[in-house]
Symmetry: C3
Subunit: 345 residues, 3 copies
């Protein structure tokens, strides 16, 4: 895999190692939030300085969260709990019919305080909407390409091959994906137009949950997409997130109740890095890779990895109240935005 020289980034981390950057970065961070510059106008020094300030603040247990709730921050919270069940009706044969409308277009998204990314987005969001249904439902996804580039939607799962999103839909074009939802499990979707790395990295992806016919146990449920952003187009990510916004759940923790079942639908759509991972502090979880085999025994652990396109379901019970950190166990990803908290009450 090609990797370019990135002196400024490493230099930055070295400065960090000797403890000198806290002052530097808070200054830069101040200017970032003031100017709300697009990422394209910043160099890696500035981007990483901003992220590190947030990291240092967020890692304090007594950290008082900012009241700033920017557009990108709100979008990440929306992505966490908002499932798109489509427009629901029942067919004459009794089958549930779900209709979704998805557009693709150029969209500038805020990926961290004051850092904007010139993305390509489904329905104006990175990640795109979390499409959710039940095994056996008939799905109709009306796709409209409002972008200047050809795009498509490739769903993971079992369906006719002419519905697999391999065909590029021209700018201005439309396509209707229609298929029966199967198998029950945790899937995802993304654009499948070449160059693939660029189309995926730009933001054209989302989670696709097919609930099994026999419902899973009741739980508080969350949706999480792990991704990265290459701001300077050097084939490396400078920012890592879940649900599109760096440190979204660190500024304010995700609220759960001690003792209740928490379920996370987790996928990896990170481009340019071969894997990503999820680590939970002070607790363990059951991990169901892909979640499509109802008889499969989960892995009981606190750390799992996924390559791009892999996904799975985590089931967690927080035994006692507390503030439980979660993050990638690749230190660099964690430090550059992929870190958050659950608070169990």
């Amino acid at each position: 895999m090609a990797k370019e020289k990135s002196v400024s980034r490493r230099n930055f981390l070295k400065i960090g190692a000797v403890g000198a950057f806290a002052t530097l970065s808070s200054t830069l961070f101040g200017s970032l939030t003031s100017f709300q510059k697009s990422a394209n106008a910043m160099d890696k020094h500035q981007v990483h300085a901003g992220l590190n300030t947030q990291l240092h603040e967020g890692m304090k247990h007594g950290f008082v969260p900012s009241s700033e709730q920017t557009v990108g921050y709100k979008a990440a919270w929306d992505a966490l709990t908002n499932f798109d069940y489509g427009k629901v009706s029942t067919l004459p044969n009794g089958q549930t019919f779900r209709e979704y409308e998805i557009t693709a277009r150029e969209t500038e998204v805020e990926i961290s305080k004051g850092i904007k990314f010139p993305g390509w987005a489904y329905n104006g969001r990175i990640p795109g909407p979390t499409i959710r249904c039940t095994e056996g439902d008939l799905l109709r996804v009306k796709f409209k390409n409002l972008s200047a580039h050809p795009h498509s939607i490739h769903f993971h799962g079992i369906h006719p091959t002419n519905m697999d999103g391999l065909e590029a839909i021209a700018p201005g074009g439309e396509f209707v994906y229609e298929f029966e939802a199967k198998p029950g499990g945790m899937h995802l979707y993304h654009c499948h137009v070449a160059p693939l790395a660029r189309h995926i990295h730009k933001g054209l992806y989302g989670n696709f949950i097919i609930d099994p016919k026999k419902p899973r146990a009741a739980a508080r449920e969350f949706n999480m997409v792990m991704n990265g952003y290459d701001l300077d187009l050097d084939g490396e990510n400078e920012v890592y997130t879940v649900n599109g916004y760096a440190f979204a759940y660190m500024q304010e923790a995700i609220k759960v109740k001690a003792g209740e079942l928490v379920r996370i639908y987790l996928s990896n759509l990170t481009e340019f890095d071969l894997i990503n991972s999820f680590h939970l502090h002070a607790n363990f979880f059951n991990y169901f890779a892909t979640g499509a085999d109802p008889e499969a025994r989960p892995n009981y652990t606190d750390t799992i990895m996924q390559c791009q396109g892999e996904r799975g379901i985590l089931e967690i019970v927080f035994p006692v109240p507390g503030k439980y950190m979660f993050h990638a166990h690749q230190s660099e990803f964690a430090e550059l935005g992929w870190m958050g908290f659950f608070v169990a009450e």
Copy 2:
């Protein structure tokens, strides 16, 4: 892991992102096929341009495959279905005895249309022959080193340690590896002479299948080795394939029948990248990692990853006719050659 600067490669991808390279690449690709230059005479621009043309053509559902069947293309098809069972006889004690002859030598192989690679190859092939037998057979592998460098054969599996291929066989030398085949499962072999990265990357590897005593269910079977080629010796791969030839099964799809059981013996011998992966479109498969535990429950999914040396068995049933794409879910690997189709009829 050391990674070098590779501006030309990234520049190329950037051009791709703005849609400008289609014309550029088809021109270059034309010249590539005409001149059949060795990869050493090309720069990354040229190599990647050629690959991208093939990618763009191949991804069209209505793509009419070329009638060009070059040497490398034919070799990849041979590697897909040709299993080497050796010269078979029965020992006085009733044990099946299999004799194989394997050479190592410098071999120039064609790895994509018009791109040649100065490899080191077992029996003149990259990957080497797929050695196949049944658990409990006595194997005798006569190895002859016809190369100017020392080499060996290191088999994965259980056998006496003096048969593990750690000892380098000098140029012109011979060695006879002899051991009982076990355990039943999906294994592989490769050269184990230092520097390892170079000896493996040059092409000295292949699959090694030990059928269990109780045979697996009848199936249409395929052999696949995931690999990469570092053409400019910069410690990064420029071309990725299964079975040695970029896009081999994209120009023409692998034929299967809807409803039948398809079994794939898959390994990862990619050097320089930490993992490789296999993703199937529009369908799911059962994955038996290593395939040596007959009681193990497979993973039911559409995407799996392997580090180098890992391998496994995929069992797939294509439910309905169609053209099912498969590829690495690392976009870069897919775009640079590791992509193909099954056609179910």
Copy 3:
């Protein structure tokens, strides 16, 4: 992930490929051992030349191990079999109480013959002590930060969140971590102060074994931590080891008995590389990922991978006497120090 240009390293490997470095490296290696220079005074050429000489010597089956037992070499052997059970007492309620004392401070460690690393170490060792106890024990870990930097201990496992090591302990400061050990399984610990990559990479980590209440079968047990060292601070590792010292178990093999059960507690704390792995020659093992689910079926294989923070338990029976190599199946890691032998007698 950012990767910098490292021409010298790759040039070195290229020289190796054409067979020219054996002489070169042995000369350099001689000077390395004489001068015992700190790694900071060497360039990559020198470091890699020294490692390659050891590699080439060690890979000979008839290799007579050196009688040199340097400080780092002895430390690696100590880490292999030394488990820290703490100061044990029984509480009034019958619970076992274990007290540990752990310091963090700047420590120069020898990581290969003649190569020193300016590390940060728990109790003066890289990896730190292997903390071992039984599920349900009450643990009290007195942590004293004798370093010029803030540090902490983050344990994996289930415990109150105020004991998770997120809070940085200032230079000169102390903290007492106290919690009940759970769940039974194979865990680890590391510093959790930002910048994380630097704090972990510098050496602040170790294994943490919680034996299940129902003891595992009797076995010969070993402790192994996979790690890497970035000597020139370029964000890449130049040396890879298990238990801190390159090729420690290659100079002299780890002694076991044919037929007995061997158990290895293996973790990955390698920074900068996304995964690491373990491959065993001429034999298979059962792998229990995390080892916390007593009902989980192990993977039966000879090659497993772990991302940072992952860990597991290997159970091996060596069927017959012999010298069984083990190493990372990333060739580069193996060649740069992560390689050793078991000798079964």
